[in-house]
Assembly symmetry: C2
Homo-oligomer: 324 residues x 2
């Protein structure tokens, strides 16, 4: 369900008339993505992605997201670039929604993460962090540590129905995480949602995966850089049975570290940052789970997968647990 | 929900290794389509569509569908062409499903049908019927008149909950349709599901829509040619408020007639063929409506839209009601 808004032919024609994109050749809804409506757009000039921003995205924040993508792209990160209309404006309106066209990024996201994906992912993350330097505007992390207690409070009613004792366990984890949360780590612009479906790969020589780019910056914000790495450790290094794959973690961290060396403070904070990353996705999933009517046309993601991750990180004494 | 089956990277790589399609550049699920899983596939050789055939399609019938597409394509209809692997085989297997790659067809299906779409549609339908000649194998219409009574019987229990008195009204319509159903009209291979989302258009000179091709032949069968036109009259000529647009109908029929002149018998039978077309889609929608659990991840289509169409056709005395 990635197309929430239908676009009529007339509306599309009027919209494209504002651009220099040549002749329209194809227009198809894309199945991937859960936050916005995405369309594959083909014109005589090439392939593009048209995004209609749906309710979850605050229109006032879109210029920041598009500006960040432009900044990252100009600083060497491969990512979609907003395409401006003839008047120089990239953020427009279509079918009653804010809308933007971005360049098409070749590549395929890995449906099954292999260890060979993790070094290129770590390198792409470090590249993203370095490329973000110099983009002056900041965007607070609205799903960062300060949001977690209020989120948990809003899950109190339905939470224990998901698993008995869940809320008490989360209360305990959360107070520990907040008490240990680091201060003063290197900050910058982070992706904050760098799951496998947001990273594209092409096949290099000998079948080795090469990262062709990063997409979907609509959770990006300004926060500790190492927290982004912690999110990736959560998103990329657990097997389908939720066992932690230390080979993947080591490859990811080492590749990151080679481009942007982690400080001693960042390395020491990695376990608590990972606990934070796990509880952040646990809480938003739990919120959706307890607030989505069972019959809704939305696939609810299991929050308990992140409880398993959280428990793993909670027993990690130091960065050694992550293969270093 | 047009992607029912996930394809892993490894499975896709092994599958594509059987073809000469060059390097894989992109792979994305397509949101359109409800019967099968469709993916947009881009390689260094161009754009393709990969289809995984899901439960509703009988694998034994796939060679007939793919053969028909090949036949129609070679006889001048613009439609997707099955692409064979290096061994000459087009119908293969992927992720536990029958699967085929077809060529990519440029164009956009009309989200809102304008009168200017209807003449090119009529011409495309006549072209399809003419191109089908010479394809010897027949496929019975499994959703034709003989299927309607059993379908209605399976809706008896839940039907009146959709609208009181619905089943009695349908019984009456159906017995009339079956009693008047014509015999001996010109037969051939019909598309049988030529709704707007199965017909692509490009913009010609002066903004005039030009039909760029026809897709989705998985309901195609061998039946009265004029019944296909009746289905199109149902699918293309009613406005969103379900008023019948006689301008659209006239344009469609005239364009069809110019390429494949309709016989007097076909013209006389048009009203009952239209009633048949309406009840066919009414019954399958009613069946889905009464047999789909309310919470299922499927958008149920309103059967009553077709009751309104059926009533319109039932008051049509002759082809004059369709603008001729």
């Amino acid at each position: 369900m990635a197309v929430y808004t239908e676009v009529t032919d007339e509306a599309l024609r009027l919209f494209l008339a504002e651009y220099d994109l040549g002749e329209l050749l194809a227009f198809r809804g894309i199945a991937e993505g859960v936050e916005n409506s995405n369309f594959a757009l083909k014109t005589s000039n090439g392939d593009f992605i048209l995004t209609l921003y749906e309710k979850r995205v605050d229109p006032a924040e879109l210029p920041w997201f598009l500006g960040l993508m432009r900044h990252l792209g100009s600083r060497g990160l491969s990512c979609p670039l907003p395409v401006a209309g003839r008047d120089g404006v990239a953020l427009r309106s279509l079918a009653g929604r804010p809308a933007a066209i971005c360049t098409f990024l070749p590549g395929i996201w890995p449906r099954r993460v292999r260890p060979e994906h993790c070094a290129p992912l770590g390198a792409a993350l470090a590249t993203l962090h370095a490329a973000g330097e110099g983009f002056r505007a900041e965007r607070p992390n609205t799903l960062g540590p300060r949001a977690w207690k209020p989120l948990l409070d809003r899950c109190r009613d339905g939470g224990d129905a998901v698993q008995p004792g869940l809320i008490a366990e989360l209360d305990q984890h959360l107070s520990g995480i907040l008490a240990e949360w680091p201060k003063g780590l290197p900050r910058g612009h982070i992706h904050a949602d760098l799951f496998p479906d947001n990273v594209f790969f092409l096949e290099g020589r000998g079948g080795v995966p090469v990262c062709s780019g990063v997409i979907d910056f609509y959770f990006a914000c300004t926060d500790f850089l190492a927290y982004d790495l912690a999110i990736c450790l959560n998103a990329w290094c657990f097997e389908p049975d939720l066992a932690f794959n230390v080979t993947k973690a080591r490859a990811m961290i080492n590749a990151y570290n080679a481009l942007r060396p982690l400080t001693q403070e960042e390395l020491a904070a990695l376990p608590v940052l990972c606990r934070g990353g796990a509880i952040r996705f646990l809480l938003t999933r739990l919120y959706d789970w307890t607030h989505t009517p069972p019959g809704a046309l939305v696939t609810r993601k299991d929050p308990l997968e992140y409880l398993r991750r959280l428990r793993f990180h909670a027993q990690a004494r130091n960065v050694g647990a992550y293969g270093l």
